[in-house]
């Protein structure tokens, strides 16, 4: 047992795999099985009491619906129980440690939820006259001010709906700027370690994607990048801090070289949490960067969204920002919705979404930002980096850390699966951690490391939590190195054992059908 982890609480465990006798219901005390709404609901049941409809002559044309829709209903108590039971089959930050690298699963303050639900924000329509929504526009304007100030940039596009949508916004702004100067360029450069959304975004915007090589240190190879730059390169997409958890030391040189070659620099801001309040991307020559409000600024992930991806823009790209956006004239907030309103917005590349973006996420993010303030946000970055380095140094003797020699890590620590027993892989460690009561780290990303395990603790975890995790991770890693067969079939204690993903993809069953229909459809 390592001396590092002595303060980590280690509960007395029962014997692994002892699940007791089978039960009649299939339930196991608090672990409750739940059928689908289609199996328990009926078309005649409803959990909503409605007023009687007035008797009128229908104006539905000839389009009145006759065929049943096939929607089961549940009464209110059944509904609450159904979803409550489902909820208990989920892991969540509220339950425990969620060290998912690159995803920044930090605590979600409930104040954020409270302010987002204030009627003045939650119960206003996006097309109300602007005079009736001045307070809502003020929130957008205030958040925009924080984002441009924290990043040292010129402007921010608030409407992108998520990180990948923000990437698209940035790349479209680059393309618009190039088009405006009559410069048709065809290539975007991305490091191999980039998020999959980077190449997908560039391709969607009509660019060919080429890889930028990395050094053995895990950073962008500046010399190789410079050698590739030329009149066909529209820009580069670089994640900084990068997905190996390292700061790109040469970022300023990269930006200068790209600019000198006539291109633009997109920075994937997924990892902004590591530097917020300490480093401004604008000082590094970045032209566009999305900010995942659900990562750095604590809006809830909600089981896969909604996200929000405002994009900060440099002076060079600001004129091409998408519509709409909020402007302030004296004390009055204006919403600029049309390309022709105001000559200085005439170069906008257009609209990316209906309405004005993820207002419900803006209120939450602003509440978080104001709670921390400029001083607290700096502490956020420092604690996030401190926690990650603590994990890295506490685990590097049991798991290979391929870039541990490359300098301190930033917000996340990267390990590989080298040194595990024959037949054991990263997946087995991930599933073993599930039995230990953790959500696994990010696995098999970035692609540049074999069997990558990317561990991001965030700043909202205590030292005691980290110490217990270190103990668990060391234990699971040792089992994977010694070839413990029980680990191959983990998890043993989750609501489900390993699921057959191959079958799911080979014969996709994406909707529920009555059992006899399901057979007929085979």
């Amino acid at each position: 047992m390592s001396t590092i982890n002595q303060s980590g609480w280690k509960p007395e465990m029962g014997s692994a795999g002892d699940t007791g006798p089978a039960t009649y219901t299939g339930n196991k005390a608090l672990m409750l099985e739940e059928a689908l709404i289609f199996e328990i609901g009926t078309s005649g049941t409803t959990g909503v009491d409605l007023a009687d409809a007035p008797k009128v002559t229908s104006r539905l044309g000839n389009l009145a619906r006759h065929r049943d829709i096939g929607l089961p209903g549940l009464s209110e108590p059944e509904t609450v129980r159904h979803y409550t039971r489902l909820s208990r089959q989920n892991y969540a930050i509220d339950l425990g440690f969620f060290p998912l690298g690159s995803c920044t699963m930090k605590h979600n303050p409930r104040l954020n939820e409270k302010v987002a639900r204030m009627e003045g924000f939650a119960d206003v329509h996006p097309l109300q006259p602007v005079e009736t929504v001045q307070g809502a526009l003020a929130v957008i304007h205030d958040l925009a001010h924080w984002l441009v100030t924290l990043t040292g940039m010129k402007a921010v596009a608030m409407s992108p709906k998520a990180g990948a949508h923000g990437e698209l916004c940035g790349i479209l702004a680059i393309r618009a700027a190039l088009t405006a100067r009559g410069d048709a360029r065809s290539v975007i450069l991305c490091p191999e370690s980039a998020h999959g959304t980077n190449p997908a975004t560039a391709a969607f915007a009509g660019y060919a994607v080429e890889n930028i090589p990395a050094t053995s240190e895990g950073r962008v190879d500046l010399a190789a990048l410079k050698a590739r730059l030329g009149p066909d390169v529209a820009g580069v997409m670089i994640t900084n801090p990068n997905t190996c958890g390292l700061f790109e030391r040469d970022m300023r040189e990269i930006s200068d070289a790209v600019h000198a070659a006539g291109g633009y620099v997109y920075c994937d801001g997924a990892n902004f949490n590591a530097i917020v309040g300490r480093v401004r991307p604008g000082d590094l020559g970045v032209d566009a960067m999305h900010i995942n409000l659900h990562k750095t600024f604590s809006t809830p992930h909600g089981g896969g969204g909604p996200g929000s991806g405002p994009v900060v823009l440099s002076e060079a790209l600001a004129p091409y920002a998408p519509l709409p956006f909020v402007d302030k004239d004296g004390d009055h907030y204006r919403l600029v919705e049309e390309e022709t309103t105001g000559t200085h917005h005439g170069a906008s590349f257009g609209r990316m979404v209906a309405f004005h973006g993820q207002m419900g996420m803006f209120t939450r993010a602003l509440a978080y930002i104001m709670s921390h303030g400029a001083d607290g946000l700096r502490q956020v970055a420092e604690d996030a980096v401190l926690n990650a380095n603590y994990l890295l140094r506490s685990l590097e003797d049991v798991l290979e850390a391929p870039f541990a020699h490359s300098g301190p890590c930033m917000h996340e620590a990267l390990f590989s699966d080298n040194g595990l027993a024959e037949g054991f892989s990263t997946l087995d460690i991930a599933k073993g951690l599930i039995d230990e009561g953790y959500h696994p780290m990010t696995v098999y990303f970035p692609l540049v490391v074999h069997g990558a395990m990317l561990v991001e603790p965030t700043e909202t975890e205590s030292k005691a939590t980290l110490d217990q995790f270190i103990g668990a991770m060391r234990s699971v890693a040792e089992r994977a190195k010694s070839g413990d067969p029980a680990l191959k079939s983990a998890p043993h204690h989750a609501p489900r054992r390993r699921l057959d993903e191959t079958q799911a993809a080979r014969k996709p069953v994406l909707v529920w059908r009555e059992p006899e229909q399901a057979v007929a459809a085979e």
């Binding site: 959990g47 300023r252 309040g277």
Partner: protein, 452 residues
């Protein structure tokens, strides 16, 4: 700092384990010129929970809310009563603070919910399959146009003039970069849609026809003829539904031959929220499933043979396919999809039909009442819960004048089509179950006064 658990002595102990003298040692890779010495000037420092809450309360008070005023706005976002249990359930930490269900053994709650959601959406739209949701209706609409291009290997999309102008704008933005051509036209203040134009324009180069149902003016029309003509020429029909409650009263687009049906799910469970987050709905015929964008949840079994659910067909997606993915979309709108699904489960078939009937009945009464006002004309023949009035003067200032009288009286076409003089007198009015008889009377009286 209430969200940060590390104590000063923790930090010191941890730096010791790391072998660092101070936190600055961990930022050595940041060049000195980019390091900030202290908090960024000009921004306030941290604030208590109470102070932040007071600040937001003050801003919230400056907005006129849908619940406290007669309210008749629609045009792609609708006010419906959302049962209290919906918001209670989505605030459970196990849903709210979960991640994308990539580790299915500990995410069956989210996955089963998504499987139920997909089934509900597919049935509501009259389609075979649906995905686990998109950002919103407008982006779902654009993704559908892109998908039709991949399926037909053609680039010409025909957009109905009744498609929401924001959806048209999003498609225009994207088309600049993808090489698609869009055939678009402004709507006319008439009971007639432009289906004749669409029918005439479909040819062997058309990838898809995009029709909103009910459309931006609230008009509803059978799409079967367009579907038939499109299919005859190897093109697809994409139907767009911005008010899913309508499908409790009118035929599903899939039943009229639509190949892809997309929509905005906001009106069930989600609420207005000043425009977002909302939830994009996306459904299609089974044969097109491998060309769909976004996440899909599928049924399978675990190692002990128990039914379970996983995200599937991810070989379409960016994290596997990178630049060859069907879309760059990464996230979905999971929590809003949950709200939608819970609300629809509470309603059930019976409740949705009842709600739709109630909306339609109230809208018919309101349309009749408002069109009695001198100079006000009802544009629509057929509609569900939203209709267009032609006013004797420009509608945009009328809407502002109504707001001064504490009535949120619809969306002017001047707001939606600022350049189109022929539409300037149009006012789109939505009437849902939240509008009382008194609200309609207050609206009618205020409108009469403003028009006088």
């Amino acid at each position: 700092m209430r969200y940060l658990p590390l104590t000063p002595s923790d930090r010191q102990a941890m730096l010791g384990v790391i072998g660092a003298q101070s936190i600055d040692d961990l930022f050595v890779d940041v060049p000195a010129h980019a390091q900030l010495d202290g908090p960024i000037p000009g921004l306030p420092n941290h604030a208590s929970e109470m102070a932040v809450e007071r600040h937001f309360s003050e801003l919230a008070r400056q907005n006129m809310t849908a619940s406290h005023n007669p309210f008749f706005l629609g045009a792609g976002a609708y006010k419906h009563h959302v049962p209290a249990s919906v918001d209670h359930i989505i605030q459970r930490g196990e849903f709210l603070t979960a991640y994308t269900p990539y580790q299915p053994e500990i995410a069956q709650g989210t996955l089963q919910m998504l499987f139920e959601f997909q089934t509900q959406v597919a049935r509501l739209f009259g389609c075979d399959v649906a995905n686990a949701s998109m950002y919103d209706g407008s982006t779902a609409c654009w993704e559908a146009i892109g998908m039709a291009g991949r399926i037909t290997k053609r680039t010409k999309a025909l957009l109905s003039s009744g498609l929401h102008p924001h959806y048209v704008s999003v498609a225009k933005t994207m088309a600049q970069y993808t090489g698609d051509t869009l055939d678009i036209k402004l709507p006319e203040l008439s009971a007639q849609t432009d289906s004749a134009r669409l029918l005439a324009a479909i040819d062997g180069e058309t990838s898809c026809v995009v029709v909103q149902y009910p459309d931006i003016l609230g008009r509803i029309e059978d799409m079967s003829a367009i579907a038939a003509k499109a299919h005859e020429h190897g093109a697809l029909l994409i139907a767009v539904v911005t008010e899913p409650v309508a499908l409790g009263a009118i035929k599903a687009p899939g039943d009229m031959g639509a190949d892809i049906v997309v929509g905005e799910g906001q009106s069930l469970g989600v609420g207005l929220q000043f425009g977002g987050p909302y939830v994009g709905l996306f459904a299609c015929k089974e044969k097109f499933v491998r060309q769909m964008p976004g996440r899909l949840c599928g049924e399978t079994v675990d190692a002990q043979g128990k039914r379970g659910f996983v995200l599937t067909l991810s070989t379409r997606e960016q994290h596997i396919r990178r630049e060859k993915a069907t879309s760059n979309i990464c996230t979905n709108s999971g929590l809003c999809a949950l709200a939608f699904s819970i609300h629809l489960t509470l309603l059930g078939e019976k409740g949705l039909r009842g709600l739709a009937e109630l909306n339609h009945g109230l809208a018919v009464q309101a349309a009749d009442r408002l069109s009695q006002i001198a100079g006000v004309e009802l544009v629509n023949d057929a509609f569900f819960n939203e209709f267009t009035l032609k006013l004797p003067k420009e509608a945009r200032p009328v809407v502002r004048a109504l707001a001064d009288r504490k009535v949120l009286g619809g969306v002017s076409l001047g707001r939606l089509y600022p350049e189109a003089d022929a539409l300037a007198n149009g006012l789109v009015v939505a009437v849902t179950e939240v509008a009382t008889k008194e609200d309609v009377e207050t609206f009618a009286a205020a409108l009469q006064e403003v028009l006088a």
